[in-house]
């Protein structure tokens, strides 16, 4: 094995499930992606809002939550040629993790959120809400694994993943995954890919709204679900709205 291979892991390929939908050509110059670690001490809480600046972006967060710690992560993945946000979370007893993410893409943008949430001890809660709006030939991916360790009884984990395709050429991939080795666990996941309701659109237009304004109103509400309860909810919704305008 060469020295370089020991220092840096090789660029993944498509056989690696976590990179199946990645833009590997865009990822190459960013590789290896540094792991940013966040540790929240017992009983403390933290929050982070990620709004990548455009261009090609790949981030990897590793969040460790001690007993009773809380963390609220919000992501607006929009306007990136390639935007990959990977998040690993480990929850100790009674910890709480929230992810609210919106992915808004057009053109040939590739947006991905890849999470692995480990409930290592009993009584922790995690809630993930991901809303994607995809136009043109854009793709939006959510790969989310929730792993509940042996003994992590009373875990409560949810994943709600919905995507709206504005054009038939856009693509949404959603794969929530559960791995449960404990008892008395509540895991809920829902995924749906759809198009804007044509009847609703006509109703709004029949009242005088131009098509783009009607779509924007309907999508605004859809995207806002990712930011409900965020400390900076209003400003995130405004920025998401600006990103939506570009797609319509």
């Amino acid at each position: 094995m060469s020295a370089a291979a020991i220092l840096a892991p090789a660029l993944p390929d498509r056989r690696d499930e976590a990179y199946r939908y990645a833009d590997l050509a865009a990822l190459a110059p960013l590789w290896p992606v540094a792991t940013e670690t966040i540790a929240v001490a017992a009983g403390e809480s933290g929050q982070l809002t990620l709004v990548p600046p455009g261009g090609n972006v790949a981030r990897h967060l590793a969040i460790t939550l001690a007993a009773g710690a809380r963390f609220d992560l919000r992501v607006l993945n929009a306007g990136q040629a390639y935007g990959r946000i990977a998040v690993d979370v480990i929850l100790a007893a009674g910890a709480d993790f929230t992810l609210g993410a919106a992915q808004l893409g057009g053109g040939s943008e590739v947006l991905e959120i890849v999470t692995e949430v480990r409930h290592a001890e009993p009584g922790a809660t995690s809630r993930q809400v991901v809303r994607s709006v995809l136009a043109g030939r854009a793709s939006g991916t959510y790969l989310g694994k929730v792993a509940v360790a042996r003994g992590a009884d009373g875990t409560d984990a949810s994943q709600s993943v919905r995507a709206m395709l504005l054009d038939r050429t856009a693509q949404a991939n959603a794969r929530p995954e559960l791995e449960i080795y404990a008892d008395d666990v509540k895991c809920a996941h829902g995924c749906a890919v759809g198009e804007l309701d044509a009847q609703g659109l006509f109703y709004l237009q029949s009242r005088g709204l131009p098509p783009a304004a009607a779509k924007r109103l309907m999508l605004q509400a859809f995207v806002a679900e990712a930011f409900t309860g965020a400390a900076d909810e209003a400003s995130l919704c405004d920025r998401a709205l600006a990103a939506l305008e570009v797609l319509l």
Partner: protein, 251 residues
């Protein structure tokens, strides 16, 4: 001679490649109230949708002139700005979008299209409050998502509040009376009169029963069957239909 507000000439239309309207002609002058009655599946709602420009309703022949313009050349939102209002037989629920939010945008989009000044937030709320009061609807209901969780009758009442706010020149009201309780029927009837009974406006009521026509007395009543108007008359035609049924009257 007055210029008609709406003039439909030999309109043919298909839905999912199935011919539904087969030569429908109708002229409505400003100041007039017309009622269309007809059996289920006759094409009454289709007529409203075609005039509103709903996708999937394809015009295969004929012409429609509205306020001097070729209505069929306009997009749905342009038809609204030109003064057309469609009261839906089944109003659509839109989660996450409130009535006040969407109606303010809709009213201002119409105003912009007509080159009129937009309403400020305060002006809009004042207008919305007045129209809700006219229809005896709690203003709080307009802060809720569009039609979500509304009862059948509440949806119909909300349609009339929207009509009051948007102040159209022609309202096509598709079975506005269905689902309304006795008091709501009177309130909506009076609302229609208050909003629309003007020399420069007109109404096309689509209904199955005389009950709404007791409050909103029509000048003309038409029977639509098989995609065409097969008989027209005055208000007495509605009474005759109620007494004798479509088959006897159409024969």
């Amino acid at each position: 001679m007055t210029t008609p507000l709406l003039s439909i000439d030999a309109l043919h239309a298909t839905v999912a490649d199935k011919p539904i309207l087969k030569g429908l002609s109708l002229t409505i002058n400003p100041g007039e109230i017309h009622a269309i009655m007809g059996p289920n599946g006759a094409g009454k709602s289709t007529t409203g949708y075609v005039l509103g420009g709903r996708p999937g309703y394809e015009v295969t022949g004929g012409s429609v002139t509205f306020a001097g313009a070729d209505l069929l050349a306009l997009e749905p939102h342009e038809r609204a700005a030109a003064g057309l209002f469609l009261g839906f037989q089944y109003p659509v629920e839109i989660p996450g979008v409130s009535f006040v939010q969407f109606l303010r945008e809709a009213a201002n989009a119409q105003r912009r299209a007509r080159g009129e000044a937009e309403l400020s937030g305060g002006e809009f709320l004042k207008l919305a409050r007045a129209q809700a009061a006219l229809l005896k609807m709690d203003m709080d209901m307009l802060k809720r998502p569009v039609n979500v969780g509304f009862s059948g009758g509440e949806k119909k009442r909300a349609e009339m509040v929207q009509m009051g706010i948007l102040d159209p020149r022609l309202a096509i009201l598709d079975e506005t009376d269905s689902g309304l309780d006795i008091d709501a029927l009177r309130i909506c009837g009076e609302g229609i009169n208050a909003i629309m009974r003007r020399p420069d406006k007109a109404v096309l009521l689509i209904t199955h029963y005389q009950r709404l026509l007791d409050y909103v007395q029509p000048d003309f009543v038409h029977v639509l069957a098989g995609g065409r108007i097969i008989k027209s008359g005055g208000p007495e035609l509605a009474h005759q239909l109620e007494r004798e049924g479509y088959e006897a009257v159409a024969a």
